[in-house]
Structure formats: structure tokens, C-alpha cells
Amino acid sequence: MKILVPFKSVADPNNAIVAGAAVSTPKSVINPFDEIAIEEALRIRERGQATESVGVTIGPPAVDEQIRAALAMGVDHAIRIDDSRALDPYAVARILGAVVKREAPYVVIMGKQAVDDDSNQVGQMLAGLLGWPQATFVSKVEFLDDKRRARCTRETDAGLEVVEVNLPAIITADLRLNEPRYVSLPGLIKARRKPIEVLTCDQLGVTVRPLTTVLSIARPPKRAAGTRVESVEELITKLKQEAKVL
């Protein structure tokens, strides 16, 4: 009973805010939503509802640092698909589809979106490719019927929704599924001894080519700095006479 957790290495969003240079910040971290997915996988395994958690990511050797972080959290085993191209979500989903066929997990848990690209596509695409049920934007997971089904609470625009999915299924984690643990020192030491398996798309028997290409990246126009008002009266006057919204 294996859980597969795909994760992405992204520029540290906290760093990016401080530096104000979101795409060029040097420090990378596990995508925060994927970190929540890893935490959930660990908890499921700790409850005895899985025998193994396998992490998988795609990238050059530099992402081994984030793989070590996942292993230090407690992931049992990790796979890196060696590919340094700028892949689009569909290419990523197709590679992960090949990994799922090889690993045969009973559930895949991953973040709902990567905070760099903000696409929110891969989990749903993977479910479509595999023909598996999906539960997206999940804030609670329970396994039922001897792990044949999962009951998931989803965060939707209109509020919470509960669905049940037959397993195997894809679950994508929302912000409030859990609070990821901090990495412990013994965890870090243990992580160094855990294996990282490196595979290529060739070895997985999958050929992908990104169909989406980023042509350019630009900063949005800045909003003009506004006016400081000194009192409630002045604010109301401005809203009425200048902005005409009251």
C-alpha cells in the first residue's frame, strides 16, 4: 500500500517577497502545497494506512536538495526524473503518469498548485490520463472500507464540499489540509542514507515535449501611489467627490 507524492522545487516564495524579485531568487524550496501533501502522506503512513511513501520530482541534480528535505521530513524513498527542460503542466502530468504505472500506488497526493507557475493543472491532468477519480483542493482526507474509498472535504468557491472517491485516486492538497512538520536533526541524518533513484523519461518509456512556451515575463504596471487622508470625514469626502464610489 504505497502513497506517491509528486513535488516541485520552486523559488522560495518568502524570499521572493522580501527581495521583490520572485523569479530570480536563488534559494529553492519544496512547493508549499506539495509540502502539505508530503505531510499528509506521512500522517497516513504513521496511522498504518500505508506501508511506504514515495516522493517523486522532476529536474536536474540541483533539486536533490529539495529531495533531501522531503526525505528528512520522513518520506521513505525518492525518485528524481532527470529532465532539466522547461516542462509545461501537461508534460509533467504525462511523466508522472508513467511513474504511477511503474510504482502502482493506491493513492497519489500532491499540492493543488505550484506557487511559481500558479497553473493548478497537473493533478487533474494526471487523473484524466490514468482514468482515476480525483479530489482536488482537499482540506480533509479519511480512508473508508479498508482503503477502497477516500472521503475528501474540498474547498470550493461556494464553501466546503464532501466527495467520496474510489481508490486508486489523485488527491490535491489545499492550504488547510495540515501544518507540515519541521525537519528534525535525526531526520536530516537519516535522509542522507535514504536512496534517491534517478530515472530518465527514456527509462520510463515516455516521450514528452512541452506544448506551452513562455515567450516573455514582465512585471505588471504598478498602481500609482495614492493619497494619505487624515480623517474619516476627509476619506468620505474623497470617496464621494473624487472617486465617486459612494
Binding site: 500558479d118 491532468m125 464553501g159 506551452t212 516573455s216 514582465a218 505588471p220 498602481r223 472617486a243 464610489v245
Partner: protein
């Protein structure tokens, strides 16, 4: 004929208005477009869609589609796109279309672009602009292939006019018996509110961590929203602290709003929150920290104590 197919969302009673904004992008793309609606008991909803200039309103109506389960919806949507030869399948960014359309994209073996805010046409090819990194950057992307799937930011496109001659309503026939059966709908939290829908409201009042607790949040943020006939939003910190429900969260991982008037109470302005409000026409920020980042993008900034200012503001508006 190149055709766009626009997925329309509804709540079983009526069409969700932001989902109509995708029609505006379909018009910009050029060519014909049809509207697609899935569910059960859709006669009224279909009839409300005939005047948007579409070539047809395509209706997939079946008891098996009563709830928007992604495996079934994506299957029917992909079949409809294929049967109609649609080259672009699009919908408005919402948890509904973000759940279903990427799955349909995989079934159609086609790429997808999320959160389109603008298109550029050059030499017959189209590129799409979309926010990345919580809206701190915009990427311009192109896609290859015969078909593409798009979601659009409702706040970036005007609502379409409904003044065209009525089009035909066409029933889309599919094999209901062979629909996937791996997902079951169990329940949905029904929360009734007299306040307008957050993403459609003309005025949004939002609160952050300094609101302290649920009661204070309701009294100040709710009180000001009610005085203005507005909706309520919240920061992640306020939601995490239990002051407001999860679906009130505005920002990168929550809702994107662009009201006429956005009032931020005790919100410092994390980039993830600003990402969700920056297209608002007028932003008012009230915060006791004069260096709060939100003041850099606020139209009107008022430095001071919320607990003193907001009751005054409510009082002045009610009197006016």
C-alpha cells in the same frame, strides 16, 4: 470552422455571472462560439443564455450530471469539444473549472493555459498573458497544437452584453450509461448570506489579523460591509485564526476580486493577498502601521486605530 466552446457554470438555480466573462474572451478570439452547460433540469438556465451571441447553447442534461463530479463532467466536456470540432475550450477561473478543465485537457490530449488576463494576436498566432508568482509577474505564453484549453480571470474581462438574436438550444447526446462512476457527491455546506457574492460585489470590505476574533470581525468588517451593501473578504491570517470561513479568503490561493471599492481593514499587504485585489478600482487601506506595504497600492490611506475609525466610518455612511 474554428469554434470556441465556452463552459458556463451555474448553481442549479441560475448562471454564475463571472462564468459569462469567458464569453468576452471568446469574442476577442474571433470566430463562432457555442456555450456549453452541464447538469440536470437545465431548461431555465439554458433559456437564460440564448442572447449572448453564441452559435448555440449546447446542453448536456442528465440525472448523472446533477452534481459537478470531475470524472463525469470532463468526459462529457471532452466529447462535446471533439464532436463540435472546437479548437478552443474555455471557462472562467473558479474552483469548478479549475477542477474539471485540466482533466478535460488531458482527455483531449491538449495543452492548457490558466488564468488568462489578455491575448495578443500577431501574424495569425495568438499568445496569452497570465499572472505567475502570485501575480507579481506576468508571463506571455504561446501554445502549440490544434486545440487548447483556457481559463480566464473574470476580473480581466468585461461581462458580455446579452442583446443578440436568440440562438438555438441544442441537446448534446452522450452515452450516460458509460459515464465514469468512481466519484460520489456526498454533501455541500449551504451557507445562506444576505450579502452579495464576493467575486461579484461592487464593494468588498476585508479584514486581517488585527480584527482579533470572529465577533469583532463580524462587527467591524461585517458592519461596514452592510453599511455599504458590500461583501466580506479576509486575509489568510484572519481565516487561519478562525475569524472568517475559508471561502472568504482573497489572494493567490483564494479568490480574485476587482470591485469598484475595496476597503482593507488591518491588512498589511502580503503579496499573496495583494495578488487578489490589485485590479480593484479604488482601494482604501486603514491600518495603524504607517509602513504597511498595502499603503503603496492604496488609492486612499488612513493611518490609525481600526477600533476607533471603523465605527465612525459606519456611522458616517449610515447617516449620509
Amino acid at each position: 470552422m474554428a469554434e470556441s466552446l465556452v463552459l458556463i457554470e451555474h448553481d442549479r438555480q441560475q448562471v454564475k455571472r463571472p462564468s459569462l466573462h469567458a464569453i468576452t474572451l471568446a469574442r476577442q478570439l474571433g470566430g463562432e462560439y457555442a456555450l456549453l452547460v452541464l447538469g440536470h433540469g437545465l431548461d431555465g438556465i439554458a433559456a437564460s443564455l440564448v442572447s449572448y451571441g453564441a452559435s448555440a447553447v449546447v446542453v448536456a442534461d442528465d440525472p448523472g450530471l446533477a452534481e459537478p463530479l470531475a470524472d463525469r463532467y470532463a468526459t462529457v466536456i471532452a466529447e462535446a469539444a471533439q464532436e463540435r470540432g472546437a479548437t478552443t475550450l474555455l471557462g472562467t477561473s473558479s474552483t469548478f473549472s479549475k477542477d474539471i478543465l485540466p482533466r478535460a485537457a488531458a482527455l483531449l490530449d491538449a495543452p492548457m493555459v490558466t488564468d488568462v488576463v489578455a491575448i495578443e494576436k500577431m501574424n495569425g498566432s495568438i499568445s496569452y498573458r497570465r499572472p505567475i508568482n502570485a501575480g507579481s509577474m506576468f508571463a506571455t505564453v504561446k501554445v502549440e497544437g490544434d486545440r487548447r484549453i483556457l481559463t480566464v480571470r473574470a476580473t480581466a474581462f468585461e461581462p458580455p452584453a446579452a442583446n443578440a438574436a436568440p440562438c438555438a438550444i441544442k441537446r448534446f447526446d452522450f452515452d450516460a450509461a458509460s459515464l465514469p462512476n468512481g466519484m460520489q457527491f456526498i454533501s455541500r455546506e449551504e451557507r445562506k448570506s444576505d450579502r452579495p457574492e464576493l467575486t461579484e460585489a461592487r464593494v468588498v470590505v476585508s479584514g486581517g489579523r488585527p480584527l482579533k476574533d470572529k465577533e469583532t470581525f463580524e462587527r467591524l468588517v461585517g458592519g461596514l460591509a452592510d453599511a455599504l451593501g458590500g461583501a466580506i473578504g479576509a486575509t489568510r491570517a484572519a481565516v487561519d485564526a478562525g475569524m472568517a470561513p475559508n471561502d472568504y479568503q482573497i489572494g493567490q490561493t483564494g479568490k480574485i476580486v476587482a470591485p469598484e471599492l475595496y476597503i482593507a481593514l488591518g491588512i498589511s499587504g502580503a503579496i499573496q493577498h495583494l495578488a487578489g485585489i490589485k485590479d480593484s478600482r479604488v482601494i482604501v487601506a486603514i491600518n495603524k502601521d504607517p509602513d504597511a506595504p498595502i499603503f503603496q497600492m492604496a488609492t486612499y490611506a488612513l493611518v490609525g486605530d481600526l477600533y476607533r475609525i471603523v465605527p465612525q466610518l459606519i456611522e458616517s455612511i449610515r447617516r449620509a
